[in-house]
Structures are given as structure tokens and as C-alpha cells.
């Protein structure tokens, strides 16, 4: 019933996580298939050689872009997956927003550290 158990007022963090989800969803929708094709088909097929791949990944621009994509992809996953858990009946787990967004942040930091070769 309205008013019972309803937390008052706007959810001020929701827009941020929704925008990140939307950004990550768009980025992954546009880029994930081609990236999966490259590492999953092109590399084993020999269309990208070992040195080519090494060179591509060593490029600072590639590394910065990858960190940016890790950030977007992880925050897309975090938001969508925790709501999927709620829809699967696991509201308790899905409500732990800090857990999922925290993992996304941790993954991003990890990627950043790797990109900086630390």
C-alpha cells in the first residue's frame, strides 16, 4: 500500500547508476561483438599474430580505451545483474548495491593498475 514501507523522496543515487548502466550497455552493444570476434576467432585463426596483438595491447591509447571500457562494462553488469537477482526472487542479495558497484569499481581500479603496468 502506498505510504507503507515507502522510503520518502527521490533516490538520489539511482540516476548515476542508471546512466552508467546505459552508457555501458551502449558501449558493450556496439563493441563487444567485434572484440569477441577478434580474440575468439581472429587470434586462433591466425589473422592476428602474436607480435601484432602484443603491439596493439602495448599501445597507450589502446590501454586507456580498454580501461574506459572495463569501467563501463563493469558498471553495466553491476546494475543489470543486481536487478536480475531481484527479479529472480533474490531481493536480499540484489539490494546490496555496494557489493556490485564496489566490485565494478575494484575491477576498474585493477584494470587501471594493469594499464599503468604497476
Amino acid at each position: 500500500m502506498a505510504g507503507v514501507g515507502v522510503s520518502p523522496g527521490p533516490d538520489r543515487s539511482a540516476p548515476l547508476f542508471w546512466l552508467l548502466f546505459a552508457g555501458g550497455g551502449t558501449a558493450s552493444a556496439m563493441l563487444l561483438p567485434v572484440m569477441v570476434f577478434l580474440t575468439g576467432i581472429a587470434v586462433p585463426a591466425g589473422w592476428i599474430g602474436r607480435d601484432d596483438l602484443a603491439g596493439l595491447l602495448a599501445n597507450p591509447i589502446t590501454r586507456i580505451i580498454l580501461v574506459g571500457l572495463v569501467f563501463l562494462f563493469l558498471f553495466h553488469w553491476a546494475h543489470r545483474f543486481r536487478y536480475a537477482l531481484v527479479d529472480l526472487g533474490l531481493r536480499g542479495l540484489g539490494s546490496q548495491a555496494w557489493l556490485f558497484y564496489g566490485l565494478a569499481l575494484a575491477g576498474t581500479i585493477l584494470a587501471g593498475l594493469a594499464a599503468l603496468r604497476l
Partner: protein, 127 residues
């Protein structure tokens, strides 16, 4: 007032109808995104200078296991792309005078954008 009957929704609700099932698959494509992000992080570590580390990564990519996992991820990624493009017109509502821009036009532009981006990346990496 006599007792009202409550009929709680079972957890299996999404298995009961095709559209509900497709919805849940769509949501779970996020796990494919997570999985590939793991590979991306590995790629960044593997390319951080240690030759042995990079060999391990590169050899894994050549393995049958990697190919199988990539195939599954690719199917899920394409499902995500398809559903995302189809839903964009619902979020992005544009108007020209009296009329709303046809949803199919917005979806179509996004589909073309996807193909263009895919082409550009392929050209940059393989070309």
C-alpha cells in the same frame, strides 16, 4: 471484511511465458559482459611487460576452451546488441513537428552505427 486471498508470484514466473524468458536471458547477457571484461583485465596484465605472462594469455586464446567460451559469449553479446538496439527508440524519443520519428528509423540508425563501428574496428586491427 473476511479474509482476502493473496497469491504470491512464484520464483519461476520467468519460465512461464516466452517473452518473460527472453527478458531474463537478456538480463543475464550481463554475465557475458562480465566474463569478457575479465579477459580484458587479463589482457592488460599479460601485456604489462612479462613475456611469459603474455605467452600464457596468447596461448589460451588459441586453445579450444577459449574458442568455445568465446562462441557462447559472442551469441550472448549479439543478443544483447540486438535487444539494446531494439529498445533504444523507447528511451530516445525524437520529434519532428507533429510526429514522432518512427521508432524503426532510430533502431535502424543504431544498427547501421553498430555495423559501421564493427567495420572500423576490424579495419583498424586487422587492416
Amino acid at each position: 471484511m473476511t479474509r482476502e486471498l493473496h497469491r504470491p508470484l512464484p520464483r519461476s514466473w520467468w519460465l512461464r511465458k516466452a517473452t518473460y524468458f527472453q527478458f531474463m536471458v537478456r538480463e543475464l547477457t550481463s554475465l557475458a559482459v562480465l566474463a569478457y571484461t575479465g579477459l580484458m583485465i587479463w589482457a592488460l596484465f599479460a601485456s604489462s611487460g612479462d613475456a611469459a605472462g603474455f605467452s600464457g594469455f596468447f596461448d589460451f586464446l588459441g586453445s579450444p576452451l577459449s574458442v568455445w567460451i568465446h562462441m557462447i559469449v559472442l551469441v550472448l553479446a549479439l543478443f544483447h546488441t540486438g535487444t539494446w538496439i531494439a529498445l533504444t527508440p523507447k528511451v530516445l524519443v525524437l520529434w519532428r513537428d507533429d510526429e514522432r520519428v518512427e521508432p524503426d528509423v532510430i533502431a535502424g540508425v543504431n544498427a547501421i552505427l553498430f555495423l559501421a563501428i564493427t567495420g572500423v574496428v576490424l579495419w583498424l586491427v586487422l587492416g
